[in-house]
């Protein structure tokens, strides 16, 4: 063994040899690597640490650049770490920090080694340990080594001190209680005269403040001093980032810092610092008009540069400018529009966003036209970006900027015809949404749907299937606005419809049924009225429709013979069968269309018979479909036709006779039509909340056991979710048939994922599961501009956007044509926003930081009040908490959070003792502490005084501002 070890030492290849060999690549890279790995595996077992370390070094190299596995060598890394020679120790440390992670078993072995090196007199050894800890520090390591870091934080050696500062971030993150020990020393370093430590400390605070800004407000004076004094751009950028987070929380602070920031902006030659100033001003200090003006002037400089980087950043900065300063964007309109055709996709995207920001009620028509035309010419990716942003801009806040819905609906139609369009899903939901919300748009909607449906070319594009599904639904639901229902029916049963996925075919069939019922009902009620009239009038009426009758009398006879539906009719240019022609069809060519005999309110016996025949012919083959949804619907339609035909023979013989039995048919059809014509409205996402849960109904039972018993039973059709009108079931159909069709092929244990998918697509029927997640899906939540304050927006940006929009909408220009009513749901309806899940560790961390900064008094106040929750005010919540002073500042809206209460209390009780110890240790700090307390009491009084939204006044000592 010893012999081989010497041999290995003598003939071992060094890392350099390895790299050289690799470059020669005589045997190919992968072969070379596997050979080298063999070598390493042998060498690394050597008892000689030098040999071992070189092998480990080679392994680290291969791992880093050639993705060779090195997890197996963890123990060897630990061995090298314990070497007394620096070079070997370093190899060990590098290997460890590169490959160790939470699950590395040997991690437990290195605690003592790290401790030993951290306390080493050799600063370079200590720095190795610090770097390693910064990368792989786990909860255990952080807890065990906190005392050592605490010592190093005030080390006289700057080299070690700055690194220990860097480590604290990892320490706090993993082990929040370390804050109680180390935080004060960290703050001391903020006042350090040494630039290196200062720079490192600011970096750490920048990261900390990004996670939980309010906790660091008390340190604002220190940061302010750095902002004014520091000459180091790196440090200034970090400090600006901190202020960008703090300023929105405390208006007085914003007022204080705005001038120094502008000063930097004016003076500095460094673009990076200037950009940071600009970003801070437009993002967080937009209240200050003059500062914003200066920043926008700087942005303009950026935009006019040739450098694509500066241009991109300029556009990016403009996009941060809040909507109330829209003038900033408008001022740079030319550049923005020009950038739309930049060769850099990133720049194009930014400018697209800005163009959308400029859109207003008056310009939307023009801009959309330009953009849709532009989309036709762009590459597929950008084309869809354009369409996507148009769709989202127009639908924003219940189509706020859309005045002319006829125009918007036809725009939707136009977008879906764009060759690269992949936004089918979004267009689908908007078509349906507009139909439900805007009554006045329905005639146009049906017209657009018709033109989409009769175009056979669209059936071939899978991205458009969803649009067609919406078009089919619209044409069925609002068939009464159609000028020619027969034509719609014809389009829906055209043979090429077989190209559609089953779920969408099912929608088609359901629409056929609706059209059928509508037509027959219209006809019957028409004859009924006619029968009541005297024969003379009737006759003259009949004469009126003679022209059309001429065409249709011949048609049914022909269609009896031609079994198959003649697709030629549809393949003609749509103008042939367009509504304008309807009145004048009875020219010589009776074949033009069998159904053009239809006239508004002029259903004739023949046309109805024709329709029935045609649909029957088309349904026959489908009644043998393997897809249950289609099968069932086709059978329904066939059944209905059969009933109609059986019950109506008298009707077919003579129009004048109204027999008793026929009245039954009339009733039946009437009933169906009533059911179908019940108006559908948008449903609030919180509607389910208001349905009281009946006694004895257990909703939260664990049904996991059922899986075992019912493992192979199909998921119940989602139709069971239908509530009151048959339309609910109808609307659900695409999804439910999906569920079923998929189940045929997939294992039943995947039913949950299907359900999840279903949920996602039909979020409307469910309670919002997480924040706004489902909202964008189908129907916006029930809120209105006026209810802006009460709606729960998940994050501040949304809120800002909302309020900004309401600002914009105030200056509505007067239009000749009044904007149609857009149905919105009742106000005051609160969507229960489930607060974002927070990392409990973050909670602990911010809690600990507050404890330290604010002292024991404020422990009660210290909680996880996050900036984002500030605007997420729920009046109910505040009422609930009003009497509970201890928690008056906790915004809790879920049981999950309230579960943490006891835990926090407990911490609140224990921390004062700890703090007491701290105070003894740091007697010198008493003075500043008392001033802290002063400010604290003030804010506490404020908190007691009012329990409304603004109670969340950040704690900041007054005298410092």
């Amino acid at each position: 063994m010893a012999g081989s070890s010497i041999m290995e030492t003598l003939f071992q290849r060094t890392l350099e040899d390895l790299i050289k060999g690799m470059r020669l690549q005589l045997i190919g890279e992968s072969a070379f690597i596997s050979k080298a790995m063999e070598e390493i595996r042998r060498e690394i077992k050597s008892t000689d640490l030098h040999t071992k370390s070189i092998a480990l070094q080679k392994l680290t190299y291969l791992n880093s650049l050639h993705a060779a596995d090195m997890s197996w060598a963890a123990f060897h890394a630990v061995e090298c770490m314990s070497s007394s020679r620096f070079a070997e120790k370093r190899v060990g440390y590098v290997a460890a920090s590169q490959s160790f992670n939470e699950s590395t078993p040997v991690l437990l072995l290195i605690t003592n080694q790290l401790r030993k090196d951290l306390t080493s007199v050799n600063e370079y050894e200590a720095s190795l340990a610090l770097e390693c800890l910064a990368k792989i520090g786990t909860v255990d390591l952080a807890r065990d080594l906190t005392p050592e870091i605490f010592t190093l934080l005030s080390s006289s050696k700057v080299f070690v001190r700055k690194k220990s500062i860097g480590v604290t971030m990892r320490l706090f993150e993993k082990y929040p209680d370390a804050v109680r020990v180390c935080f004060k020393r960290l703050v001391e370093n903020l006042e350090s005269s040494d630039p290196q430590s200062l720079s490192a400390t600011v970096g750490v605070f920048c990261e900390l403040a990004a996670k939980d800004p309010p906790s660091y407000l008390p340190l604002a004076p220190e940061f302010y001093r750095i902002l004014v004094d520091s000459k180091n751009n790196w440090v200034l950028i970090k400090v600006l980032k901190i202020f960008a987070k703090l300023a929105p929380l405390e208006p007085r602070l914003a007022k204080k810092v705005v001038e120094p920031i502008c000063e930097h902006m004016r003076r500095t030659g460094a673009k990076s610092l200037m950009f940071e100033c600009v970003r801070t001003v437009v993002g967080s200090l937009s209240e200050y008009e003059s500062a914003v003006k200066l920043a926008v002037a700087k942005i303009r400089e950026f935009l006019l540069e040739d450098d694509p980087n500066l241009k991109y950043l300029g556009l990016h900065a403009l996009s941060i400018v809040p909507p109330k300063h829209l003038w900033a964007v408008l001022e740079n309109k030319e550049v923005v529009i020009k950038s739309l055709s930049d060769e850099d996709a990133n720049i194009k995207l930014e400018s697209l966003g800005l163009v959308m920001a400029m859109v207003s009620e008056s310009s939307i028509v023009e801009i959309s036209r330009v953009l849709v035309n532009y989309a036709l010419k762009s590459d597929p990716e950008f084309c869809n970006e354009i369409l996507g942003s148009l769709l989202s801009t127009c639908s924003r806040n219940f189509y706020e900027i859309v005045v002319d819905f006829d125009w918007y609906v036809s725009l939707l139609g136009e977008m879906s015809r764009t060759p690269h369009c992949q936004k089918g899903e979004e267009i689908e939901s908007q078509l349906i949404d507009v139909g439900m919300r805007v009554r006045d748009a329905r005639p146009e909607l049906v017209r657009v749907a018709r033109s989409l449906l009769i175009d056979p070319a669209l059936l071939g594009n899978p991205f458009l299937h969803r649009v067609l599904s919406a078009a089919a639904w619209v044409s069925g639901e609002y068939v009464e606005f159609s000028l020619n229902p027969f034509e719609l029916a014809e389009a829906l049963i055209q043979p090429r419809a077989s190209l559609l996925p089953n779920s969408i075919r099912a929608v088609y069939l359901q629409s056929v049924l609706k059209i059928l019922v509508f037509s027959v009902n219209s006809y019957l009620s028409q004859t009924e009225t006619l029968a009541d009239l005297e024969p003379g009038v009737q006759a003259s009426q009949m004469e009126n429709s003679e022209a059309s009758d001429l065409a249709s009398v011949r048609a049914p006879i022909e269609s009896e013979h031609d079994e198959a539906f003649n697709p030629g009719v549809l393949d003609r240019p749509s103008a042939d069968i367009s509504v304008e022609d309807i009145g004048t069809v009875a020219d010589g060519d009776g074949q033009t269309s069998k159904f053009v005999s239809f006239r508004k309110n002029g259903f004739t016996r023949e046309s109805i018979v024709n329709l029935l025949n045609l649909v029957e012919v088309a349904m026959r083959p489908l009644s043998g479909s393997l897809e249950v949804e289609i099968l069932e619907r086709a059978c329904n339609i066939l059944g209905l036709i059969e009933v109609l035909k059986r019950e109506m023979p008298a009707q077919f013989q003579s129009e004048m006779v109204l027999e008793k039995e026929e009245l039954e048919v009339l009733e039946l059809i009437k009933l169906m039509d009533d059911a179908f014509s019940e108006e559908l409205g948008p449903v609030s996402t919180s509607a389910q909340d208001r349905v009281p849960i009946p006694d004895g109904l257990v909703l939260k039972d664990n049904l996991a056991d059922l899986d075992e018993i019912m493992g192979d039973v199909k998921l119940p059709s989602s139709n069971s979710f239908s509530l009151e009108s048959p339309y609910y079931a109808e609307r659900m159909d695409p999804a439910s048939s999906n569920v079923q069709s998929k189940e045929d092929s997939e294992a039943s244990n995947e039913s949950t994922s299907l359900l999840a998918e279903h949920r996602k697509r039909h979020g409307l029927y469910y309670l919002p599961s997480e924040g706004n997640g489902t909202i964008s899906n189908d129907y916006p939540p029930a809120n209105d501009l006026k209810s802006g304050e009460t709606t729960n927006q998940d994050d501040p940006e949304d809120f800002v956007r909302l309020t900004a929009q309401s600002l914009v909408s105030k200056k509505k220009p007067n239009y000749a044509k009044p904007r149609p009513v857009v149905v919105k749901l009742d106000e005051g309806e609160l969507v229960l926003a489930v607060p974002k899940k927070q990392d409990s560790r973050d909670d602990l961390l911010s809690g600990a930081v507050r404890d330290i900064l604010l002292g024991d008094d404020a422990v009660k106040l210290s909680s996880s009040i996050k900036g984002k929750e500030k605007v997420n005010m729920d009046p109910l919540d505040s009422k609930e908490n009003m009497h509970d002073m201890e928690h008056s500042r906790h915004r809790k809206s879920s049981s999950r959070r309230s579960k943490q209460r006891p835990h926090r209390k407990e911490r609140g009780q224990t921390s004062p003792e700890k703090l007491g110890m701290e105070k003894e240790e740091h007697g010198g700090k008493v003075k500043s502490k008392s001033s802290h307390r002063h400010g604290r009491q003030k804010s506490r009084q404020k908190a007691e005084g009012s329990s409304d939204v603004i109670v969340q006044t950040p704690v900041i000592p007054d005298f410092l501002l």
């Binding site: 490192a200 970096g203 180091n232």
Partner: protein, 143 residues
């Protein structure tokens, strides 16, 4: 965490240095490097040096045959990162003298050493060339 990773990749797409500040498995690393290299190397000089990728940004800069790619959080200052890259190159230049790809290939551990001095836990902690190079020079002297 400001900086998530630093990569040096040559024109052919071979990784010359990879430093991650968050733990990724080998497969994740390989996938990430592949995606990024494909995305960034295809860009032209006239395009900007910032690319959005997944939920973060990549700031890159090309020096001769070598691309320096830095993955950063979204609110990181892009220009500062460009300056950071330049500082890194200048530092290596001062140490190696007219640094080239081969220097980094053969002295990877030194390049890592410099990065360790400059960046800690994803934070830029040191920006003075002299301070960055001091420990390396000391180590070279002693060995």
């Amino acid at each position: 965490m400001g900086i998530r990773f630093i990569l040096m990749v040559n024109k052919q797409g071979q990784t010359r240095l990879a430093q991650y500040y968050e733990y990724l498995t080998l497969e994740e690393r390989r996938a990430l490097e592949g995606e990024i290299v494909r995305k960034c190397l295809a860009r032209t000089e006239q395009q900007c040096s910032f690319v959005e990728h997944r939920n973060y940004k990549i700031v890159y800069r090309r020096y001769a045959s070598l691309f320096f790619l830095v993955g950063v959080d979204n609110d990181e200052n892009e220009l500062a990162i460009l300056e950071f890259i330049h500082l890194l190159v200048e530092t290596m230049d001062r140490h190696f003298g007219n640094v080239c790809e081969l220097d980094i290939m053969f002295h990877l551990e030194k390049a890592h050493f410099m990065l360790e001095e400059m960046v800690m836990n994803g934070c830029i902690v040191e920006t003075s060339k002299a301070n960055i190079l001091a420990p390396i020079q000391l180590m070279e002297k002693s060995s």
